[in-house]
């Protein structure tokens, strides 16, 4: 039934990326989302700067405090990003495939010398590129704001940590982008796809912690034993918690932006004996600490994309 195809499956990928990115960047939807993210994130960073100037005299990681410090009524910069980035990513790709279906343009596009492979990957990469452009400019804006208002440059270590944080944020956005793409392949109606993606987002950002408690108690028994908290329960809870990309991203941001973070799981008292508390971890060790989380986010992005790809390839697209 299948015949071997001629040429690379990625023929026309560049064209798709360029066109899709141009569409994204000039769309009103993207502008509204960017305005939302920029305004809230900059307000959070500005509030943090004001609070730093008022309260902190000297700290080796002043720039990192810019991103982690929360000042009432605004949450911290990283908390805002963790909440809003899935929204942007979902908005970018929830109608990527089914939108083409409904406009009856898909068969027209595929009549061109472009494989489905290139179309899907191009749409995904274009979404990722738009997200990256937005995040990079936001990141630079915050650093510029910090330079201007704090009046001192970030150290090399701070720059490395903030770069790692930027990469983690993009990977986190990639997961939601791939998920929304999957739903857009799965459901023919864009509204259903958007609802499914937003539902997943709400569950993982708001209700996941309740669910983990219940599931961990079912799997590993009660939380409290005779001698206090039970390690088996804690481990099961953490394992389930880490299935959510929100948890992975929060842990990555915490370990990278708060250098004194030494461990992300339950720690035995015997492991803390002799430890100098509050001493910052070397930057390489912080990366070692969050490496599983970061690779998990990236691998999850790729795997979800692979599922979307397989489903898309097996779909009937003549309409």
């Amino acid at each position: 039934m299948q015949s071997t195809r001629r040429g690379s499956p990625w023929t026309g990928l560049g064209t798709v990326i360029a066109k899709e990115t141009a569409d994204h960047l000039s769309s009103a939807r993207m502008r509204i989302l960017e305005a939302l993210v920029f305004l809230t994130a900059l307000a959070a960073a500005y509030a943090a700067i004001r609070s730093i100037r008022a309260t902190i005299g000297e700290s080796p990681f002043l720039f990192l405090r810019l991103l982690t410090m929360a000042q009432d009524p605004l949450p911290a910069f990283i908390a805002l990003l963790g909440f809003l980035i899935p929204l942007v990513a979902i908005a970018l790709s929830f109608d990527a495939v089914n939108g083409e279906f409904n406009r009856r343009t898909l068969s027209r596009v595929l009549a061109q010398p472009i494989y489905r492979d290139a179309l899907l990957l191009g749409k995904f990469l274009a979404g990722l590129l738009s997200l990256t452009i937005g995040l990079c400019s936001l990141w630079l804006l915050v650093i510029g704001l910090g330079l201007l208002l704090l009046g001192l440059p970030p150290s090399t270590e701070e720059m490395m940590r903030m770069l790692g944080f930027l990469v983690a944020t993009i990977a986190y956005g990639g997961v939601w982008l791939a998920l929304a793409l999957l739903f857009s392949v799965l459901f023919r109606a864009p509204a259903t796809a958007a609802l499914a993606a937003l539902g997943t987002w709400l569950v993982s950002s708001l209700f996941w912690s309740f669910l983990t408690d219940i599931i961990a108690a079912l799997v590993a028994g009660p939380a409290e034993g005779v001698l206090g908290p039970r390690l088996a329960y804690l481990n099961a809870q953490q394992l389930i918690d880490r299935l959510s990309p929100n948890t992975l991203y929060a842990e990555t941001a915490l370990a990278l932006l708060q250098p004194q973070t030494r461990a992300l799981g339950p720690v035995l008292i015997s492991q803390l004996q002799g430890a100098v508390l509050g001493a910052p971890l070397p930057v390489t060790q912080s990366f070692v600490l969050i490496w599983p989380q970061l690779t998990g986010l990236i691998a999850a992005t790729i795997v979800i994309f692979a599922i979307a790809y397989v489903l898309f390839q097996r779909q009937e697209i003549r309409a």
Binding site: S270, G274, V276, L281, V288, G296, I302
Partner: protein, 390 residues
């Protein structure tokens, strides 16, 4: 019967006690008026006003009035009779009592040595009492100072605070201000303080014939080598001086210092793997430290070994490097830990230093993470190959 016996015994005892006292009282037989002094011939210092105590006593006579004069006064001297602190000319003596008077003798300036004669006369009704006195103006006692101490030889280490207790006696005839000084080896410092006081002194006034206790505190450099040292302290007035030789025995003392290589007190170690740290022992003291034992207080489940484990002897100003091999627990969390390295030597000597060890975890998991991403990409490539359509 018993009571009567006791009463008789009491009476006899009282008589036995009373009789001798009554027999010994001379005033019972003596009557008349007497003018007396305790020392009718005395020696005084040149140029000094002398006061002679006189006593006019009335034994068993009615109260009488006497006029008191000094008819014989040595040339140039001035004599005044004082009663109750005032010059008087007459005195009334009650029956069976005495009146105390003073004779004040003021010599002329430049009175030479020799004997001077005076007579005091008390004249009453039908009585003329005369009391001759001889005052000798003597030569002044030559100025003399004496300085002594009970413990002239002290012993201790270079960090001991040494203190000599000195007694300075002014044996001359007049008050003097004594200047204090000391000759000590170079860099030794001697400070004088009053005994039990803290105020430092350079000179001290001492009255004639009196003595004072002083402390001479000695501060010496910590690096002073062991040995015997001599020093002398001097007390000096314009006329006299006194010296005292003191000695000091400094015994050697080892002093250990523990540090890292180049003074660095930090190091890195991988969790679950051996890593080396160089500990430097130094002896800053003045004597060799013996049998130095090394030990480390590290977090639980860490292994630490020293090579060598003990250092038999470490000469003064010598250093010795010791290799510390430490193995953090394989479950150790990355980050900084504190470890105390302690060196103990004979003689209760113990010194420690805190090292900060940064535990690093293996980057093996990094490779595994990259492998997971590679597998995910392979899945995509496989999917492209398997499901790719024309």
């Amino acid at each position: 019967m018993l009571r009567r016996l006791v009463a008789v015994a009491f009476f006899v005892g009282a008589v036995a006690l009373g009789l001798p006292s009554r027999a010994a009282d001379p005033s019972s037989t003596l009557t008349g008026m007497f003018l007396t002094t305790r020392y009718p011939a005395l020696t005084v210092k040149a140029g000094e006003t002398t006061t002679v105590d006189l006593s006019l006593r009335n034994y068993k006579l009615p109260p009488q009035q006497f006029s008191v004069t000094v008819p014989e006064v040595a040339q140039g001297w001035k004599a005044t009779i004082l009663g109750g602190g005032q010059p008087i000319a007459a005195v009334e003596v009650a029956s069976d009592s005495d009146e105390r008077l003073q004779l004040r003798l003021e010599p002329p300036s430049g009175a030479s040595a020799g004997d001077y004669h005076f007579t005091v006369e008390a004249k009453g009704e039908g009585q003329d009492l005369k009391l001759p006195l001889t005052v000798t103006v003597g030569q002044e006692v030559p100025a003399k100072l004496k300085m002594t101490t009970n413990f002239p030889d002290l012993r201790g280490t270079a960090t001991t605070s040494f203190k000599y207790r000195l007694t300075v006696t002014n044996d001359s005839g007049r008050d003097a201000t004594i200047n204090l000084s000391a000759d000590a080896p170079k860099n030794f410092q001697v400070t004088f303080t009053e005994a039990y006081g803290s105020q430092q002194l350079t000179s001290i006034p001492i009255e004639a014939g009196k003595s004072k206790d002083l402390d001479a505190a000695l501060s010496i450099p910590r690096e002073t080598p062991a040995g015997d040292y001599k020093l002398s302290v001097h007390a000096k007035t314009e006329q006299a001086n006194a010296d005292l030789n003191l000695s000091l025995t400094i015994i050697g003392q080892p002093r250990l210092a523990v540090s890292g290589e180049g003074g660095r007190l930090s190091g890195d170690a991988y969790a679950g793997q051996d890593s080396q740290l160089t500990v430097v022992l130094r002896n800053d003291g003045s004597e060799a430290a013996r049998d130095i034992e090394l030990s480390a207080t590290a977090p639980e489940q860490w292994k630490t070994t020293f090579e060598p484990k003990t250092v038999p002897s470490l000469a003064p100003n010598a250093t010795q490097e010791v290799k510390l091999t430490m193995t953090p627990s394989s479950r150790a969390i990355a980050g900084d830990y504190q470890m105390t390295v302690r060196a103990s030597a004979t003689g209760g000597l113990s010194e420690s230093a805190n090292f900060r060890v940064t535990v690093l975890t293996s980057t093996l998991w990094g490779a595994i993470g990259i492998a997971i991403i590679a597998i995910a990409l392979l899945v995509v490539v496989f999917a492209v190959a398997r499901f790719g359509r024309r």
